[in-house]
Amino acid sequence: MDADAAATSIWAKPFARIPLARRQQILTLLVAAAAIAFPLVHDNDADIDSAANAAAYATLALGLNIVVGFAGLLDLGYAAFFAIGAYAYGILTSFQVMPHWGPFWEPFAWLELVQRMPQPGGDVVHFTVSFWIMLPVSALIAAGFGVLFGAPTLRLRGDYLAIVTLGFGEIVPIVVRNVDSVTNGAAGLNGIQAPMIYGHSFGVNAWPYYYVAIALVALLIFVSVRLRDSRIGRAWMAIREDETAAAAMGVDRTRTKLLAFATGAAFAGATGTFYVAKLQTATPEMFGFPVSVMILVMVVFGGMGSVWGVVVGAVSLQLLQSWFLEDISGWIHALGRAVHMPWMEQIDLTQSIELIFGLILVFMMLYRRDGLIPATRKQSALTYEQQHADVRRGGFSVLTGLGEVAGRAHAGLEVKGVTVRFGGLVALNAIDLTVPAGGVLAVIGPNGSGKSTLFNAITGLTPADGGAIRFDGKDILGLPPHQILRRGIARTFQNIRLFTNLSVLDNILIGQHARLKTGPIAAVFRPPFTRREEAAAREWATEIMTLFGNRLLPRATQTVSHLSYANRRRVEIARALGSRPKLLLLDEPTAGMNPAETLELAEQIKSLHALGLTILLIEHKLDVVTRLADTVVVLDHGEKIAEGTPDAVRNNEAVLQAYLGRGTLAEGLVHA
């Protein structure tokens, strides 16, 4: 890694004074200029055609990258959406489907979507929908199928999803093959109309297709980047990193996944239309499993989640296939002749492109899982000086936004007779407890007594088998986790569930997901409203970080996986605060912290309480409990065995027995 860093610094030295963002802009412009100039300087139709194909695959890779790279959903049947877009255009511009002419078609003819064709047996309809209309329409149709395929299956675990998408990827070409009347079956559609512009057909020239393709790539790069850097993209990545935590932070899992699926499908649909418009033919074989795998290889090769990476991956592999493999084979033959190795002259690499794809998959996974251009750049840790500069511990500034929400009057949390069973095991048995607004209630009990299960039941992660949970006077039992968060209940997890590969800032921003409104369209167009919202969200995140002094603030852009254990606990609390909760559930917040850190965090929790936040706390350290809680509830084997002030509970006989054992020996020890 040091050698790496040294190498980059030599390269980067002359440019170091230019800011990173500016350097990226310049690079983008250079790439765009080269792409535009290519057909002008290299007047070879076959090569321009290959380049147009490469660009089409780049758009497919960009679409799959949204599904696999951003949202972490392994889709092995992605080519199905490519097929749907292709056939949508093919059917609506060829001579395959020709219903009888009737008055119904008059308005469509007037809109130039269909033509009336005279036929001996009565006039028929010829569909002539324009390529430029079909490009977005195919995207919409494919997105619709994305929702249709996704809706029943996206609840499945990731690996099952892979196999189901593989199934869909197979079903679509089979259906295409079997419904001859619409698709002309295995023989495929022919005579598909070429795009027209101002009455001129693209015909058989390669260059107009090439320019459409690179425009499409540019558009989809733009859309990908805008989505990635928005509330939507963050939600996708949250799902990828930890689905349960994402739900607990207010991300609607099903909708978010469906959106990723539909967006990816839309990219493929538009590309399908482009691709058959260029070929003017479509057969089921063009969209089988090998195509899905090829696109996956491109994404993996370039770097899952990396927008520029997948473009480079797609273009380089496609050009390898169409430009270089023949040359390389030729070189091997020449070498074979030179060294008199006849077997080398037999090698034909163009036949083995799929073998190469397979090897790329295996070797990338084994040796470079982040791909050629990783989505996240490596960061160096803070230097000793940075870590120790301006030591402020337990510092706390007024969180205006939080005080406003948390301090607002509400009716508190009421848990009544909640029971949770796992098979025969009763994890919680008819638990009652009340957290009044503005109160701090601590739940203690030996390991396995049901404390975390109680938290899971309150936050909707574990379904309860009976009882009622009311927050602010309204029933929340049975609501999905993201809606419970929306009501103002946020939590942390005992075994820290952060979005490990995202930055501290992103984690806190995801915490705000439910409080932000930006949708996918606003994310792409970024109207002033969205800009303001995003700026305010970042400001709020910064404000939360200041609560922890200089623990988090200097590390805002660091990846969470690089943080110390105690800092991760702090980030988790900060993330929960991001959602502007009224009630905060803390599951062993000081676990694994040393006494000084514990004390510091206890002070910080106290200051949150002072702002008006209601707190429900699981804690083993009794000094923390005594310091913070008004009331303590003790659980043992899923039963509530005591409730009262910390002092009363500390001396309760049943509690001592629960902690120290029920035997006479233990009792003897207690009294001794």
Partner: protein
């Protein structure tokens, strides 16, 4: 043919297909039960296994359907072919685990699954490039003995297939339930961490699972050749998907479930081909896969597993 005879004939066909799918499904289930990994390389271990069987039979001088054997020589030849195919296929599975999956043991996310897709693709293309794209006539030394039941026909090859499949499944069942290694396997499937702490060599358990699964896939490949009289580089994909569906249907990770699922899928395929249309077979089977996963993800015999995460 009367409807009852048709039904009987398709039951015979379906049970033979089902026996093959069950053997293949067991490999998915063994590996999934322990690693929670869908092993796509299994698809083409099956295909390679079918070629190993072909070459073994050819080495013993049996080409096409011309050589017919009976009695002890027949049993000897079939046993040899079965054992060689299973051992070499099992070895291939171990090799795959060793080279491509063990380094990724602790990697979270889709990386191991993507690796198995890559391995599957490599096997597929190596066979395609070395053996060729045309399908190969499969050697079959069985005498053309057949029994007529009404209009339905039961051939010797079907009986042989059932015997092989039942013996192998019985053996696997006894191994998993009775042997020390089987117990270690079940323990690892429950909780690898705890099993390791109790002294189970988890790496060895995984190797054994891959060996057994791949050996059974090899046996399935041999059965494919004997049943259809051909093999080809392309057979892994459809058979693999059907077998995976069988494993899911029975309850993935569940050994008797895989057998049951295999038989059901085999029967559905045979009946579907007879009464609907073979062009729609895959659509029917995938629809079953989706429906099972959506409505009963634990499968017919599986328990709803607690979320391990």
């Amino acid at each position: 043919m009367a409807l009852s005879d048709l039904l009987l004939q398709q039951t015979i066909n379906g049970l033979s297909l089902g026996a093959m799918y069950a053997l293949l499904a067991l490999g998915f289930t063994l590996v999934y039960g322990i690693l929670e990994l869908i092993n796509f390389s299994h698809f083409n271990v099956f295909m390679v296994g079918s070629f190993i069987g072909l070459w073994t039979l050819q080495l013993m001088g049996i080409n096409g359907q011309a050589v017919v054997m009976t009695g002890l020589p027949l049993i000897g030849v079939m046993m040899t072919a079965l054992v060689v195919t299973m051992v070499l296929s099992g070895g291939l599975g171990v090799l795959i685990e060793r080279l491509s999956l063990r380094p990724l043991r602790d990697v979270k996310g889709p990386a191991p699954m993507i690796t198995t897709i890559g391995v599957s693709y490599v096997l597929f293309n190596i066979v395609l490039l070395t053996v060729g794209a045309d399908s190969k006539n499969y050697p079959n030394p069985l005498p053309p003995v057949q029994f007529a039941i009404g209009d339905a026909v039961l051939r010797l090859r079907e009986i042989l297939i059932w015997v092989i499949a039942v013996l192998l499944m019985l053996g696997l069942h006894l191994f998993v339930q009775r042997s020390r290694m089987g117990k270690a396997m079940r323990a690892t499937a429950q909780d690898p961490e705890a099993a390791r702490m109790m002294g189970v060599e988890v790496d060895r358990v995984i190797v054994i699972a891959f060996f057994l699964g791949s050996a059974l896939a090899g046996a399935g490949g041999l059965i494919f050749g004997l049943y259809y009289n051909f093999t080809s580089f392309i057979i892994g994909f459809n058979a693999g998907l059907r077998a995976f569906t069988a494993a899911v249907l029975g309850g993935i990770g569940n050994v008797p479930g895989a057998m049951l699922g295999g038989v059901i899928i085999g029967l559905i395929e045979a009946m579907g081909a007879q009464f609907i249309a073979s062009a729609w077979t895959d659509v029917i089977i995938f629809s079953i896969l989706v429906l099972v996963l959506v409505f009963r993800p634990a499968g017919l015999l599986g328990r709803v597993a607690p979320n391990k995460s």
